[in-house]
């Protein structure tokens, strides 16, 4: 999944770098304190462990092999923010010391494997764990299934992001860069759906071993740094944080999506045009529009995305407050 230099359209690479630096900056600000002093060697050992684990190949059939990505494993052990920093270190070493993955493509590689994979893995793990525990499933089999599913999702979503980046590069450069969607999407998703199974089995096995042999090897996954009171109140539960992690993954896709977005008519507009039906005057005229160029469309998209995310989080908070009020004596 390591993208080399020269494969991606420069605009796509630049967007990847900007997004990665924004995420890394935020993570260093929020979690930088957690990996000082005592935790520093543990995080370095985990990063080295993921690096070495990536050297363990497993067969995926047809004579080809896959290897662990390790994003979910890192995030479940150390928490999503520490995992972002640790996976970034792994990718920097791979790029600078082994020439594995490019410099201009480092932003996209880091976005896929150091941001999207750990956040997805941790988000899915936390949500599934809460659901299974509520359903009474606390056995080792249930726990193994949850870890396996999270690891599979992390690889699959990261591969989907990589395939999308390749396809967008191809589309915006008229074929000068990237790989056509008809090749990149089935190839990346098909292969990584199988690789994800291996990742899931091995991640579940490693964590089962670690939890049974050395439970205190796990560094704290709860944030210690104070955040804004309102935000803190909203993000007090693991479920809310997992939802935020998954929302961040989707938000990262927006800048590339708007690059790929077509100005053509949608299905209903095309049908109305074919049937010679004209659109009537709207009852309410919105002060906002989707914008005519890339940046205004992106701004409108981000604004809409943020509004929907905040409303959804607020509704979750209300439901939880009502639930706790209902159960209190």
């Amino acid at each position: 999944m390591h993208i080399p230099d020269g494969l991606m359209d420069p605009t796509v690479s630049a967007i990847g770098w900007i997004e990665f630096l924004v995420v890394l900056g935020a993570v260093l600000l929020l979690a930088g304190n957690r990996i000082k002093e005592k935790n520093l060697p543990r995080v370095a050992v985990l990063s080295a462990g993921i690096f070495v684990a990536q050297m363990l190949n497993f067969p995926i059939g047809g004579g080809t092999t896959g290897h662990l990505v390790g994003g979910a494993l890192f995030a479940i052990i150390a928490g999503p923010m520490v995992a972002v920093i640790g996976m970034t270190v792994v990718l920097l070493i791979q790029a600078l010391m082994f020439g594995d993955g490019g410099i201009t493509a480092l932003g996209l590689n880091a976005l896929n494997m150091a941001v999207i994979a750990p956040l997805t893995g941790w988000g899915v793990y936390t949500l599934l764990k809460t659901m299974t525990e509520k359903g009474g499933g606390k056995s080792s089999a249930a726990s193994g299934f949850v870890v396996g599913a999270a690891a599979w999702a992390s690889v699959f979503v990261a591969a989907a992001a990589c395939a999308a980046e390749l396809a967008v590069s191809y589309a915006v450069s008229s074929g000068a860069y990237g790989i056509a969607a008809t090749v990149s999407v089935p190839a990346m998703l098909g292969m990584h759906a199988v690789i994800g199974v291996g990742e899931g089995i091995i991640t579940a096995g490693v964590l089962a071993y670690l939890w049974s042999v050395l439970p205190d090897a796990i560094t704290s996954a709860s944030p210690t740094r104070k955040v804004l009171p309102g935000l803190r109140a909203l993000m007090c539960g693991n479920t809310a944080r997992a939802v935020v992690a998954i929302i961040v993954v989707f938000a990262l896709a927006l800048p590339l999506y708007f690059l790929y977005a077509s100005a053509g008519k949608d299905g209903l507009e095309k049908t109305m045009e074919n049937a010679n039906v004209a659109e009537g005057e709207p009852l309410i005229v919105s002060p906002f529009s989707y914008g005519q160029d890339y940046f205004s469309a992106l701004f409108a998209g981000l604004l809409g995305f943020l509004s929907v995310a905040l409303v959804a989080l607020g509704m979750m908070k209300l439901v939880r407050m009502r639930g706790s009020r209902g159960t209190s004596p």
């Binding site: 050992v45 462990g49 010391m97 020439g99 860069y177 096995g205 089962a208």
Partner: protein, 249 residues
């Protein structure tokens, strides 16, 4: 020196040829700036003759660096599958010229990076990054992770040998549950064993005055050779970029 202590441990050395050649003696900052500038420009070239010109420069740099070509070829082969996948898919949709152009462009970017990787001592590279204002937490983690990778690789090699000596041949299929369980336990065991050793190494470093900040492990000054190296690469990159953007026409 603390970093010398970290650097001198372990038998595994990826950059073993770095100190033997002139390229390895260049200042890390000069190498990083020159190679990165060349790669960034090479990655955006789309005119076939310019792509091949940048590939020629990359090949020249590879040969002139005096690093063992077999060593670099082995590293290039590791990057080849993804380059070929991209080139073949572009060939299928855009014709042979675009396919070859994709291979040439990615190779022109990968080769200088391999020369940088093989021709620079790891800690030179990290202290160069620190001097370019990369956050201390990242460079310190890079240094420690690099040290622990040596530790874990040795541990993994020992355990793999022990596993083979006991006749383990499993793990050849995703359906081989026993084999995959053994691989998972091996990975878990490597982590467990390394955490203890990692803590001891860190305590040793702290005992020698390590305060969490990566310090340059040797004094280095920008020499005439460094300036010439950066200037030549920046000039080549500027010419290629100018021609690509059509300003020269």
């Amino acid at each position: 020196m603390i970093v010398v202590h970290v650097r001198s441990q372990g038998n595994y050395r990826l950059d073993e040829h770095a100190s033997e050649v002139w390229f390895g003696k260049l200042d890390a900052r000069a190498k990083l700036a020159g190679v990165f500038a060349f790669i960034v420009v090479s990655a955006i070239l789309t005119r076939t003759e310019l792509v091949f010109a940048s590939l020629a420069v990359a090949l020249t740099m590879t040969v002139v660096s005096m690093l063992p070509l077999a060593h670099l070829a082995k590293m290039y082969l590791a990057a080849l599958p993804f380059i070929l996948l991209a080139s073949v898919s572009v060939f299928l949709f855009g014709g042979w010229e675009r396919g070859i152009q994709m291979w040439a462009r990615t190779s022109a970017c990968v080769l200088p990076l391999l020369v940088l990787a093989a021709g620079t001592e790891s800690f030179d590279l990290f202290s160069g990054l620190r001097r370019f204002r990369v956050p201390a937490i990242i460079t310190t983690l890079l240094m420690l992770t690099q040290r622990y990778i040596q530790l874990l690789s040795e541990e993994l090699a020992r355990m793999t040998l022990a596993r083979k000596a006991r006749g383990f041949t499993g793990g050849r299929s995703l359906l081989d549950r026993y084999g995959l369980r053994i691989i998972s336990c091996t990975a878990g065991m490597v982590l467990v064993r390394s955490i203890g050793r990692g803590d001891r190494i860190y305590e040793g470093l702290k005992g020698k005055g390590f305060n969490g900040e990566l310090m340059p492990w040797k004094k280095s000054h920008i020499t005439l050779l460094d300036t010439s190296f950066v200037s030549s690469l920046v000039i080549v990159a500027s010419v290629l970029l100018t021609l690509q953007l059509g300003v020269a026409q």
